[in-house]
């Protein structure tokens, strides 16, 4: 939750943005980590990468990841709840105020309850002990020797655990971690049926299962053995409302994690998927489909969410900020619903009571101010929420600089309009094929301004195994208005010679990064991480040493200098020899982003005739070439050649 004073200082105009975010965060999330304790999960294996702990087992990694997620949730979702349930263990539940009796072979290690430091410390202690002796885990969670717990029972235990512990309003999820693709010894169809029916039960209560199946080279995880028949599509990907709709269809976007990736995979699922908005997308009058919008890029998280406390000596009480609207002359408080909106007024002209409340008198019954609703309807120009297609443009027409805000991802909503998916998919495929973007006018929420957006198609990408790599959909990119575009400050400056450019190319070439462009995952916000590390240390009453903090956004100096250091030095030397080193700047101020150039063909012809094309400016040459439909790419020399060519021919 944002601190209350921040709430209050926000102008009304920004209301929607904030409410939006709060809505998003207000809903609680409850995760039950459901971890397999079968002997294979306890089997030690070597991890040569990790010097601290060269021998691990799956259970250790799973518990460690669970704890990391809990720690992260402490900050990212402090109101969320988690619980841990083991299965295939000899331990059975008797204590800890567990109201419902769980199925045999399942053990509720942590009730579903709000996050607490002490619980994390418990796991931490357990993990520390396991680090010393991996057998410790086996002692604590002895595996079941008499066979395996039927998955149906596991789901039933989950059901009861949720019923007892999860807040009603929360989104409820099970993170199922197992390495057994055949959970039962026998392939009894009844077990499958039972598992499926009990899972359906969970589903109908709004619980979704997010499976993390551990697959190793020695022991690949084969979905078709059991889970394909049990898991439902809505179990992982579909929206909650979609359940029961597409029973026959099994999108295979199930996370099968290599054990090394378990934590990363879990983080991926840390935040439950939630739509920001749901609006009709009108392709043409008479043809609208349903879409939902998801914020993949969100507003920047502020460093540290806090509230204020007042120290009464013996106790601390949370303080709340409250604001009221007051007619100061009268010290009369005005209800928010009676507040009207207008522009500044002043006392009658010439009168001198400067300090009094500005007022405006009109005849009784008249009202020169807007009500809240009137005010709000102004900005939307009476539009209702909609995404309206205006047409299509070349992909290249979406420029780098036409950006002001983060984008939103849209995905079809079959629940609003039947046929949305096929229409959406057809549009997506067509636009990808033709390399087009869409131009849309949209009002995605009431009380906002209508805006133009570029509709950027993202084709669906599956990896070689058919797993989803990138989902298909459109990015809605808000375009700036003319009002938002600033002029380029400078129109003229000194530019580099070819030699210097070459010197720069030399080291630029050496400094290319691996991977596919900018990868958000590689750059956690250092200020936030630094703050949270202190917060965590403070909560766990540990010392915080800022020297231990690694800022992963720091450039890799070692590599930079190793790979390009000498080339950079050479470039610097070349720069020092540049003519411009002795010059004093004369730079003229610019006007609008696009320069106005005028060309006079006669002048250019006379220059050409007298062999003085070099005296012309590049923009003049370009403009001339443009008017003759000649290419305008290249350096000045190229342009001059092309101009000469043209005159030769004509």
């Amino acid at each position: 939750m944002a601190p209350y004073d921040d709430w209050n200082s926000v102008e009304d105009e920004d209301d929607e943005e904030l409410q939006d975010a709060s809505l998003f965060e207000a809903r609680k999330d409850a995760i039950l980590f459901c971890i397999d304790c079968s002997p294979s999960m306890l089997e030690p294996w070597d991890d040569p990468e990790d010097e601290d702990m060269p021998v691990k087992c799956h259970l250790f990694v799973a518990l460690d990841a669970t704890m990391q997620i809990q720690k992260k949730k402490m900050i990212s979702g402090p109101n969320d709840s988690t619980g841990i349930l083991f299965f295939n263990t000899l331990l059975t539940q008797t204590s800890k105020g567990q109201p419902s009796e769980l199925r045999e072979g399942t053990h509720l290690y942590q009730l579903i309850a709000p996050l607490e430091v002490s619980k994390i410390k418990d796991i931490q202690a357990l993990l520390d002990a396991a680090k010393e002796d991996l057998g410790e885990l086996k002692k604590t969670f002895p595996p079941r020797v008499d066979g395996f717990t039927p998955m149906g029972d596991v789901f039933t235990s989950c059901n009861w655990t949720f019923r007892d512990g999860a807040p009603k309003t929360a989104s409820k999820r099970i993170f199922l971690i197992t390495d057994r693709d055949e959970p039962h010894l026998s392939n009894d169809p009844q077990l499958i049926t039972a598992a499926r029916a009990n899972l359906d039960n969970l589903t109908s209560l709004g619980v979704t299962v997010e499976p993390f199946f551990i697959s190793t080279e020695e022991k690949p995880f084969d979905m078709s053995r059991f889970y394909k028949a049990v898991l439902r599509p809505n179990t992982f990907a579909e929206d909650e409302e979609d359940e029961g709709r597409s029973l026959s269809v099994l999108p295979e976007s199930i996370s099968i994690a290599k054990i090394e990736d378990l934590l990363a995979q879990m983080r991926f699922h840390e935040v439950p998927k939630r739509a920001h908005f749901s609006v009709p997308f009108q392709l043409a009058p008479g043809l609208a489909i349903g879409v939902k919008g998801y914020g993949l890029v969100t507003d920047k998280k502020s460093v540290g969410k806090y509230v204020y406390f007042h120290d009464f000596g013996d106790r601390m009480e949370q303080a709340k900020s409250m604001s009221v609207y007051v007619d100061e002359d009268r010290q009369a408080e005005v209800k928010k619903s009676n507040v009207l909106y207008g522009t500044a007024v002043e006392g009658a002209a010439g009168e001198d009571n400067e300090n009094s409340t500005p007022t405006r008198a009109v005849k009784a019954g008249q009202r020169p101010f807007y009500t809240d609703d009137e005010k709000r309807s102004l900005r939307s120009l009476g539009m209702e929420p909609i995404i309206k297609l205006l047409g299509f443009k070349d992909h290249s027409s979406l420029s780098f600089e036409d950006n002001i805000k983060h984008s939103t991802f849209i995905y079809p909503d079959e629940m609003a309009y039947s046929g949305s998916k096929r229409t959406f998919t057809a549009l997506l495929k067509s636009m990808v094929k033709k390399e087009k973007i869409g131009l849309v006018l949209a009002l995605i929420r009431r009380n906002t301004n209508p805006r133009f957006y570029a509709l950027l198609p993202q084709p669906e990408k599956l990896d070689e195994n058919g797993w989803m790599e990138e989902p298909g959909g459109f990015h809605l990119i808000p375009l700036p208005f003319a009002d938002d575009v600033r002029a380029a400050k400078y129109q003229e400056g000194y530019t580099a010679s070819d030699e210097l450019e070459e010197a720069a190319v030399a080291w630029i070439s050496k400094l290319s990064l691996k991977g596919a462009g900018y990868q958000p995952d590689s750059y956690p916000n250092p200020a936030l991480a630094f703050h949270n590390a202190q917060l965590e240390a403070s909560a766990f009453q540990e010392d915080f040493d800022k020297e231990d903090f690694e800022n992963v956004t720091d450039p890799n100096f070692k590599n930079i200098h190793k790979r390009a250091g000498e080339l950079m030095q050479r470039w610097k030397e070349a720069l020092a020899k540049d003519d411009s080193a002795d010059l004093v700047a004369v730079v003229s101020a610019g006007t609008k982003r696009k320069a106005d150039t005028s060309v006079d063909e006669e002048e250019i012809r006379s220059r050409y005739n007298s062999g003085e094309l070099a005296k012309l400016r590049v923009d003049q040459l370009k403009e001339f070439l443009k008017s003759k439909r000649q290419p305008v790419l290249g350096r000045k020399a190229d342009l001059m050649d092309r101009v000469s060519e043209w005159f030769d021919k004509n």
């Binding site: 079959e414 046929g419 575009v485 129109q491 750059y523 400016r617």
Partner: protein, 863 residues
């Protein structure tokens, strides 16, 4: 003319207040009604809007003065010195205008006499000249007249000469002058000879003025509503671009001095100011009445101030929970304020300085006195992390405003250095990943640098990228690859477009292309339709227009806002040519895609109660009776094939509410017959979200569930799964059931994702349900619940602007209670006591809704 610069301008308005200006001007309101004002009021509106623009821009050096002619008395500096120039008055001396200036203009009335415009023009020129003295400011004069009076036309050439000598830009605005401007053509019918001559005179006059212009008032008003862009000069910020370790390896590391300026910056409206009607001292709802100079009754709107304070609730700990709830609720409004009825006496105001920050950590808070947490040390500048292939840039990640990065403007060397990098990057077709710290110690941002080569200067563009913390990756089901449970990949399915459909879409995309949909009026070349720099922010300019409007009128009800200027909405529809061209393609696409709107059902509830509820409810029985009432059941047409055969979507007619009443075998039929028309009970009438047949019938799994192994949970849990969440007491086509109508209703009304149409439907349906219950036997058992429903529905009607629905409903309820058999007179008494009557215009308008019910009518209604 001196170069235009913002401010440093004296603008004189010269206004005709002669008797003839009292003639009426009729205009049409947006709603079709017509209204009459005087020409003077019209002219004043123009001048006030011009002055309001100066007030809005808020520049001290934007001055104006007002000279009026045709006044009974004479008061001007020329008359003071040399006499003559009668009936001309300096009404507002040159000043920086404020809202008071506008109010003073409001007091002007047409006089009973006449004055000369040229005299007034000379007075304005002199007044301006004298005020300016030696200042070299821009000078403007705008003269507004109806041209209805005979003018003295001697020696007007010398006035022109004076205007030119002083480099005054002069605008003449004529009331109902003829205009042949293509944007605003106008011919006044029955024009008087005097006026015709005067118009002719002014044309000749303006021909000789160097900076002169002339127009008709209607055109000038239209021009005023034209959006204008506020040019903002970007202030360059100095910084440094670094590559490598400047401290550790200074020989190799690169540092370039740079200036950064904004490339895009979101323009916002000025904030609204808050007002309220001033109440009589000591009263809460009695308006304070003043008596104006002319004896009229006035009310006062006072500008409000927001007073914020910090409070600690010293109430006993035990109702901590309730407290939390009330805060939560306020949060939803985005405004934390005291609830009217909260125990404010337990609140103690505290000083903000004495408060300690507590950071939320799990369920608790970590207190942090004096902000003892360290901040990460950062160093001002932009550090390049590395370069990557520009083709791999993900445009959708760009998350903010874009900045220019220039070589330091005073250093050619630094410019050359930056230029070489920009060119090098362009040549290699790469972009850079970089980290930007705006000043020492401030939080870093990540971003991408893209080279940008202008004709005569090279620079980089910066686009901010999200941190890992601000980026989410959700899983989405595949759109193109559908797999059955048996592992077969489907090639045909209602979710998948057919080749025919794809072909129709291709045609559509082609037909709606905008790359050549516009035409350059000068060259005649086909150009791209819409670019950002041609598009105005419609909301921004609308709000600005509205702000100006309310500053210059006294009553928004009688003088409503003009429609938005067409320039602001010119891109709201695709270009007409494209629409025309694509008409057939669109029709074909609509036919082939066969998309149908789904009647929104309330969300399924999933409270744990359902699990328990199973025991004491005869769910399966009800279910058997009413198979159409649920999603899941409607997917079980027994005869459907159970294998995943594809099928063409079947068109499903949209169900008309009221048309879909089902036979209702409950015992409260009497009343329901009124609403019942026919009883189609076929499930196919209820359009499903997916038009195809169910491919894996739910009945299958149900039956399996029933033959489960002993290791199963209670049987009724399974039955629950089938139908627990949907009220069996809900009629098909209705979104509100009779079991818990209020819950159903709230779910829809409070869901931010609900469409307005869904809300209206919920309201209508709740009305039906309430009426049904009221008229059924034993209604009194549910009296409290019914009252709550009425309360909630009335509140929603006001908030959602569905007042008519409420008023229609309550009227109907009253009629049925009192006049139908058996009726329910007792309940109407209850309703009366609650005061849940008609919503009146006064009440509705408070919340911005509307109603044509008067106060008297409402009082009468509840009698």
């Amino acid at each position: 003319m001196p170069a235009e610069r913002a401010g440093y301008t004296v603008h004189m308005f010269v206004l005709d207040v002669c008797k003839s200006m009292g003639s009426p001007h009729t205009f049409t309101l947006p709603d079709g009604r017509t209204q009459e004002i005087t020409n003077l009021q019209w002219a004043l509106k123009y001048i006030k809007l011009k002055i309001q623009e100066m007030i809005y821009n808020g520049r001290k050096t934007d001055k104006c003065g007002v000279i009026i002619f045709g006044t009974e008395e004479t008061n001007n500096i020329v008359n003071d010195k040399q006499g003559g120039y009668d009936n001309v008055t300096e009404y507002i001396p040159i000043c920086t205008p404020n809202a008071g200036t506008l109010r003073k203009l409001d007091r002007l009335e047409p006089s009973a006499t006449y004055g000369d415009p040229i005299d007034a023009l000379i007075v304005a020129t002199k007044t301006q000249e004298e005020w300016l003295g030696k200042k070299k400011w821009s000078k403007k004069i705008t003269l507004v007249t109806d041209g209805q009076n005979i003018m003295e036309l001697e020696d007007w050439e010398s006035s022109v000469a004076k205007l030119n000598e002083l480099e005054i830009s002069f605008l003449l605005v004529g009331v109902d002058f003829d205009s042949d401007d293509p944007e605003y053509e106008y011919q006044e019918p029955d024009k008087s000879n005097v006026k015709r001559q005067n118009e002719q005179f002014w044309r000749e006059f303006l021909d000789r003025v160097d900076n002169g212009n002339m127009g008709t008032l209607g055109h000038a008003m239209l021009y005023l509503s034209k959006p204008s862009i506020k040019e903002t000069a970007s202030n360059p910020m100095r910084s440094v671009l670094r590559i490598g370790d400047a401290e550790g390896k200074p020989d190799q590391a690169i540092e370039i001095d740079i200036s950064t300026t904004k490339c895009t910056a979101v323009a916002n409206n000025k904030a609204w100011k808050n007002f309220a009607v001033r109440m009589k001292e000591g009263t809460k709802d009695e308006e304070e009445i003043l008596i104006g100079e002319d004896g009229s009754r006035l009310i006062v709107y006072a500008q409000l101030k927001k007073q914020a304070g910090w409070y600690v609730d010293t109430k006993e700990e035990n109702d901590d929970d309730d407290d939390k709830k009330s805060i939560k609720k306020e949060d939803g409004d985005g405004d934390v304020k005291m609830e009217e009825d909260s125990d404010s006496e337990t609140l103690v105001q505290v000083e903000k300085e004495n408060l300690i920050r507590g950071y939320k950590y799990g369920t608790g808070y970590v207190p942090c006195a004096d902000d003892s947490f360290l901040r990460l040390e950062t160093k001002k500048g932009i550090d390049i992390i590395g370069f990557f292939d520009a083709a791999k840039f993900r445009r959708e990640l760009s998350r903010g405003e874009v900045q220019y990065i220039w070589g330091d403007k005073d250093s050619p060397l630094q410019q050359v250095a930056l230029s070489s990098i920009a060119r090098g990057m362009a040549k290699k077709k790469v972009m850079a990943i970089a980290r930007w710290v705006t000043k020492d110690g401030s939080d870093a941002k990540m971003g991408v640098l893209n080279p940008c080569l202008f004709d005569k200067v090279d620079c980089l563009l910066w686009a901010e990228m999200p941190f890992a913390d601000d980026y989410r990756q959700y899983t989405f089901a595949s759109l193109e690859r559908l797999v059955t449970k048996k592992g077969e990949v489907l090639t045909e399915h209602p979710y998948l477009p057919t080749e025919e459909q794809c072909e129709a879409m291709d045609q559509f995309v082609k037909a709606m292309d905008l790359m050549k949909a516009d035409k350059d009026p000068e060259t005649g070349k086909h150009t791209e339709w819409f670019t950002p720099i041609e598009s105005y922010n419609p909301g921004l300019h609308r709000v600005k227009q509205a702000m100006f409007h309310c500053a210059v009128v006294d009553d928004l009800a009688t003088e409503p806002l003009d429609p938005p200027h067409p320039d602001t909405t010119k891109y709201f529809e695709p270009p007409p040519k494209v629409v025309k061209k694509s008409k057939e393609v669109v029709e074909d696409l609509i036919k082939k895609m066969n998309v149908k709107e789904v009647v929104k059902q309330p969300k399924r509830t999933r409270n744990e109660e359902h699990v328990h509820a199973a025991d004491d409810d005869d769910e399966p029985l009800l279910l058997a009776r009413k198979p159409t009432a649920t999603f899941s059941m409607s997917q079980i047409p027994a005869s459907q094939p159970t294998s995943p055969t594809k099928s063409k979507p079947e068109p499903k007619p949209k169900v008309e509410p009221g048309d879909s009443e089902t036979e209702d075998e409950s015992d409260d039929d009497t009343a329901r017959k009124l609403a019942m028309k026919k009883a189609p009970s076929s499930s196919s009438k209820n359009p499903l979200p997916t038009p195809a047949r169910s491919l894996s019938p739910r009945s299958h799994s149900v039956s399996q569930a029933n033959i489960q192994s002993p290791a199963k949970p209670k049987q009724d849990d399974i039955a629950m799964d089938i139908d627990a969440d949907i009220d069996p007491q809900r009629d098909p086509g209705r979104v509100i059931g009779r079991t818990r109508p209020l819950d159903d209703f709230k779910k829809i009304i409070e869901d931010p994702e609900s469409y307005p149409s869904a809300k209206a439907k919920a309201m209508k349906d709740l009305g039906h349900v309430v009426t049904g219950i009221v008229l059924a036997p034993f209604a009194s058992r549910r009296e409290q619940e019914l009252k709550d429903c009425l309360k909630e529905m009335r509140r929603a009607a006001l908030l959602e602007d569905e007042v008519d629905v409420w008023n229609g409903f309550i009227q109907d309820l009253k009629d049925k209670c009192l006049f139908s058999t058996p009726g329910n007179k007792e309940f109407w008494e209850v309703t009366k006591k609650m005061g849940s009557g008609l919503i009146t215009g006064v009440e509705a308008r408070k919340l911005g809704a509307d109603s044509d019910v008067g106060e008297d009518q409402a009082v009468e209604f509840l009698k």
